[in-house]
């Protein structure tokens, strides 16, 4: 009788961890929540001189900002594994690229600067551009050394905080830079309205000399 009881107790103890595991599996089924709020787009007129920079493009070649100095530049900060605003701003930029006519596009250039150089290698950027169907004839995705990028982020007033691999908190900024290399329009928050940006770009194109 006692032996039988011992045997039953032993068996129960043996199965206990498995029962606990089974209970735990159910215990974690709470819904994930996200308190992160994305603010609406904000347009600001600014006058911030942008310094020249040299980075690496999506083909692994050197890209010099000097080479597009004579153009109106639409520049955005994004990273390829961004789960919220960046896909919207890249899609908005693509809309702008499509909406401009051939003559306008010859005087406009698009740049996407990564905020996550650890993950965004040239190859990763090239795949990202392909997914968005970007015409790379007048749009360059750039990455580089973190120290170099840090200087660029600072110049544009972009704050970058790395949270985990492939997860970065950064100021969501799309900027329009005139032909003298001065940032004239800044769009913060969610993706800018392409129509508003196009209007601003056209206003800069219309000016023979930007004062």
């Amino acid at each position: 009788m006692l032996r039988n009881l011992k045997s039953r107790l032993g068996r129960t103890l043996f199965f206990l961890p498995f029962m606990a595991l089974a209970t735990l599996n159910h215990g974690f089924s709470h819904e994930p929540t996200n308190s992160k709020k994305i603010s609406g787009p904000q347009r600001r007129e600014v006058r911030i001189p942008i310094r020249d920079f040299r980075l690496i493009d999506q083909n692994g070649r050197s890209f010099d900002f000097k080479t597009v100095r004579d153009k109106v530049v639409v520049l955005a900060f994004a990273y390829t594994t961004c789960p919220d605003v960046c896909p919207l701003s890249t899609a908005a930029m693509r809309e702008i690229q499509i909406a401009l006519d051939r003559i306008e596009r010859s005087s406009v250039y698009f740049i996407t600067v990564t905020t996550d150089p650890e993950v965004d290698s040239p190859k990763v950027l090239a795949l990202y551009a392909k997914r968005y169907g970007v015409d790379l004839s007048d749009w360059t995705f750039v990455t580089g050394e973190e120290a170099v990028l840090r200087g660029i982020w600072q110049n544009f007033g972009v704050r970058v905080v790395k949270k985990a691999r492939g997860l970065v908190d950064h100021t969501s900024l799309t900027a329009v830079i005139d032909r003298t290399g001065t940032m004239r329009f800044a769009y913060y928050g969610t993706a800018p309205d392409p129509k508003v940006v196009i209007e601003d770009v056209r206003s800069l194109l219309a000016r023979r000399s930007n004062s």
Binding site: L24, T80, R131, R159, K162
Partner: protein
């Protein structure tokens, strides 16, 4: 004597198998965290494509309950790894074990509020990854350190 021990072992294995069949590998906090960080904004709390960002997107997002059931684990994994359209590809940023967790999470959400086919109850057993202590091999549970890149 040997036969009794064998029967006892078989009984133990049966109980373990039944436990996992009933509960699956289980949804855990790690999956919830990954989902909250990387997917929730667009796909929403229940994977119905109604996250905070979804209304601003140029495309309609799928409801996992309608689409995931028809996809193989490999297909879901590929979408998460390589991205699709404007959905980011997470392969360059996440470890294989983390992508597996995301696949499982998507499967869990796809089962919410609908009749689950009998074979889906065994899906987690087929994948059977979570019964293996991957974290011991991959060091997955090391908490990612908050690394400040730049001070504003």
């Amino acid at each position: 004597m040997l036969g009794l021990k064998f029967m006892s072992l078989m009984r133990s294995l049966l109980v373990v198998a039944i436990s996992f069949a009933v509960t699956g590998c289980g949804r855990n906090q790690r999956m919830d965290r990954l989902y909250a960080e990387r997917c929730l904004g667009c796909h929403g709390s229940f994977g119905r494509g109604d996250g905070a960002v979804a209304t601003s997107l140029p495309a309609r997002l799928p409801d996992f309950r309608e689409t995931v059931q028809r996809k193989s684990t490999g297909q879901i994994r590929r979408i998460i790894s390589e991205g699709r359209g404007i959905m980011p590809g997470f392969d360059p940023a996440l470890r294989p074990a983390e992508i597996t967790d995301m696949v499982e999470m998507v499967r869990f959400l796809s089962r919410e509020g609908r009749d689950v086919s009998w074979w889906e109850k065994y899906d987690t057993l087929v994948v059977a990854h979570c019964s293996v202590p991957w974290d011991l091999f991959l060091g997955y549970d090391d908490a990612p350190e908050e690394k400040r890149v730049e001070k504003p």
